[in-house]
């Protein structure tokens, strides 16, 4: 089974702290994604990466950065956490950037981040 593992299920951080959210997948997928999910807004794409050291901004990249040093690991970084970044963060990976066809995205279990 494909596994996408996020390092923490729950995280509480203080305003201004630097926060790292880690995601690891074990299926040798090229593409990895970070989303945040907020009530009433659904899932929104923050950043995605289609290869090691390659990254692209999604719809809401402000306040975030990412790192993809190894194929299996995609990190989301909050340089200076703010209360409006309190959210559920979901990592996903897929074999192809094309999410059509027989390709599907596999999601991690999510990290619920609270910034106080």
């Amino acid at each position: 089974d494909v596994k996408v593992t996020q390092s923490s299920r729950y995280l509480v951080k203080r305003t201004g702290e630097k926060v790292f959210l880690e995601c690891v997948q074990d299926m040798d997928h090229e593409n990895m994604f970070w989303y945040r999910q907020d009530p009433g807004l659904g899932l929104r794409l923050i950043y995605f990466s289609y290869d090691v050291k390659m990254k692209e901004k999604g719809d809401i990249p402000e306040g975030y950065s990412v790192s993809r040093e190894k194929k299996e690991r995609f990190s989301l970084i909050l340089e200076s956490a703010s209360t409006n970044q309190t959210s559920m963060y979901l990592c996903a990976s897929s074999f192809s950037l094309l999410l059509a066809g027989n390709t599907e995205a596999f999601f991690g279990q999510g990290t619920r981040l609270t910034v106080v």
Partner: protein, 112 residues
């Protein structure tokens, strides 16, 4: 940017009842995905539709994509408490996969 709408926003049904959730786009979709999320957990892939008029079933869940590829419905037959959760539709808004979007979700509760 591409937007997906879902209706209803939330749904409460008695166990054993049938229900339908809809997902609508103003633009042609290149792939339509249905996911289920249990509260506070990750997403579980249910099924994917690509061709106009396509219909897929898995256990008691059936998903359809209309001929214009702008609307999809998810139908659950004889609902059970295990069906409870948030159902999200997601779609490729382009044919190169760089604009994958999700609907806002439909929260389903099934009363025993």
């Amino acid at each position: 940017s591409q937007e997906l709408e879902q209706s209803p926003q939330s749904l409460i049904v008695q166990e054993g009842k049938n229900l339908t959730i809809n997902c609508t786009s103003s633009k042609t979709l290149y792939g339509l995905y249905w996911y289920k999320q249990k509260y506070g957990e990750g997403l579980i892939f249910l099924m994917m539709l690509q061709k106009g008029g396509e219909e897929k079933s898995h256990e008691k869940i059936t998903a359809k994509l209309d001929e214009k590829k702008q609307q999809s419905s998810l139908h659950i037959t004889a609902s059970q408490p295990s069906h409870a959760g948030i159902y999200l539709c997601g779609a490729d808004a382009t044919n190169y996969g760089q604009n994958f979007v999700f609907g806002p979700g439909t929260r389903l509760s099934v009363l025993p």
